[in-house]
């Protein structure tokens, strides 16, 4: 049985006004997409295709020019809905707060007892292997990977039903990315949340996702959706699987022409 639709995008487009009053730039869409409850969905696409714009629309950080974005049957209208947790590409740790205090930020309005609050933070600290740094460390004393774990922990402590990840491992080295990917998979299994991941790394998408949306060059549209067919109980060892290479090759085949378009635009705009 197909799981129920968790997030539904229908005819979504986004255009941006230009400085000086010129014609608006058509950045995205139209896009029609359903995210199923509990699935891990990744989006790949060439640089500047509108991946982050799509992310912002689903997060409620901006509004669509046309079309609708629904979360659990209710429209997302320019405000992040309750039940949605967001992790950004850039380091968004608050440097003046300890690790624990950063994570507690997500619970400041939660109507729960002090004991429950503490238990939830302890649980997430344990889950993200941050317990030893909780009160003794500030973000500046942590590595890039650990700071990103703090950001993910701050999202998880809110127990979101939809987790949005905008290239969360982009600043990390390849080995750390693989390990962080495993952790995200583990958290996805434990929490049962729907995960929406934006990434430019084809191998990362192929390893993590159940389905991968491939976007065209700007204005970004969904060219295809690739099903990986992995078991839910997977880890980074899927990269040894022969299907992994086939999935990555298919993604590249779809993207090669689009990436070329982006490169062509860059060549015209920025001649040598």
């Amino acid at each position: 049985m197909t799981p129920p639709v968790h997030v539904a995008l229908s005819g979504v487009t986004k255009s941006f006004d230009t400085v000086g009053g010129g014609a608006p730039v058509h950045a995205l869409g139209p896009i029609d997409l359903d995210l199923r409850a509990g699935e891990f969905f990744a989006v790949v696409g060439p640089s500047g295709c509108g991946k982050s714009t799509l992310f912002d629309l689903i997060a409620g950080l901006s509004t669509a020019t046309t079309g609708s974005v629904m979360f659990e049957g209710r429209p997302i209208a320019g405000q992040v809905p309750e039940g949605v947790g967001v992790v950004f590409q850039e380091d968004s740790c608050l440097p003046w707060r300890t690790v624990r205090s950063n994570i507690e930020l997500g619970l400041r309005h939660a109507r729960i007892s002090a004991e429950e609050r503490k238990a939830r933070v302890d649980r997430v600290l344990e889950l993200m292997k941050l317990r030893d740094f909780a009160t003794s460390h500030y973000p500046a004393q942590l590595s890039g990977g650990m700071r990103q774990r703090v950001c993910i922990a701050r999202t998880l402590v809110m127990e979101p039903r939809l987790i949005l990840l905008d290239e969360p491992f982009a600043a990390l080295d390849q080995q750390t990315r693989l390990l962080m990917g495993e952790e995200v998979l583990r958290l996805w299994r434990v929490t049962g949340a729907t995960v929406f991941l934006i990434t430019h790394a084809l191998d990362e998408a192929a390893m993590l996702a159940d389905r991968i949306g491939v976007m065209s060059a700007r204005p970004g549209r969904l060219l295809d959706i690739v099903e990986t067919g992995w078991d839910r109980d997977r880890d980074s060892s899927v990269i040894e699987h022969e299907a992994f290479g086939a999935i990555t090759a298919r993604l590249w085949k779809l993207l090669r022409h689009e990436t070329g378009k982006t490169a062509e635009v860059a060549r015209v705009l920025l001649p040598a």
Binding site: Q79, D91, P139, A140
Partner: protein, 251 residues
């Protein structure tokens, strides 16, 4: 003590030693300036006698009120103006030319309006400090990383909560720079106002001593002001250094 602090202390000691030698050898007339050691002795005597207590309390109290008002109102105004780009564009010229205005020239007007009590002096101290705080606040808010503003939105924070929990703490190093300037400018504003027209305060006492060739009172009071300003700014400096270290912005 770090090597830098040692160099700093040696530099101050060297300057004081040069002044001491110039005074003791008569290169500087005793009627013009006392040797630094005599200033220190006179300061201890003055403080022990208690006859300057009221003046000291008045000046420090007024400067503290002026500085607190400059910091609170300056930061609040800065936060509001930062959200209103048209207002900011309009006021930017005022802010950038503000310190070219002779604000002290308005002091007689404030005396007419508020009398010879502490209010005009507090206003002068406030006016000297507030714009430095506003400018520092705007500068700091401009530099808050965009991702932290997105984080505030993702955490469903109201504008007030965003300011209190995200943008102002993120801009804190800049706010502290504004506060340091406000401390110095507020003291200068209050002392200058007391100097011009007042019934008490350190500025008034310095002016009175100057007019009466009373070096044994004037120089110790100037020394007291210097020590006080350095102590307050030193405390803020240490706080700032701790904050920057905590944020990984300083080794």
């Amino acid at each position: 003590m770090t090597r830098l602090a040692l160099y700093r202390a040696l530099l101050i000691l060297a300057a004081v030693a040069v002044l001491e030698i110039l005074c003791l050898t008569g290169a500087i007339d005793p009627l013009t300036m006392q040797p630094p050691h005599q200033m220190a002795i006179d300061l201890v005597r003055l403080l022990a006698s208690g006859k300057m207590n009221r003046a000291i309390l008045q000046t420090v109290g007024n400067a503290a009120i002026a500085c607190a008002l400059a910091v609170v109102i300056g930061i609040g105004f800065g936060v509001v103006v930062h959200r209103l780009s048209a207002v900011r564009d309009t006021l930017d010229l005022v802010f950038s030319t503000y310190y070219a205005l002779p604000t002290l020239a308005f002091y007689p007007l404030f005396i007419i309006l508020f009398g010879l009590g502490p209010v005009p002096q507090i206003i002068m101290g406030f006016l000297q400090g507030v714009v430095a705080v506003i400018v520092s606040t705007l500068d700091g808010l401009d530099r808050v990383p965009r991702v932290l503003k997105k984080l505030a939105a993702a955490q469903r924070m109201s504008p007030l909560e965003t300011a209190l929990k995200i943008t102002l703490p993120a801009a804190a190093p800049y706010l502290l720079t504004g506060a340091k300037l406000a401390v110095a400018y507020s003291i200068i504003g209050v002392i200058a106002a007391e100097f011009l027209m007042s019934q008490t305060g350190i500025g008034y006492q310095i002016s009175f001593a100057y007019n009466n060739f009373d070096n044994a009172t004037m120089y110790p009071l100037i020394l007291l002001l210097v020590v006080f300003s350095i102590a307050v700014n030193g405390t803020l400096f240490r706080w700032e250094r701790r904050m920057l270290r905590q944020r990984g912005l300083r080794a």
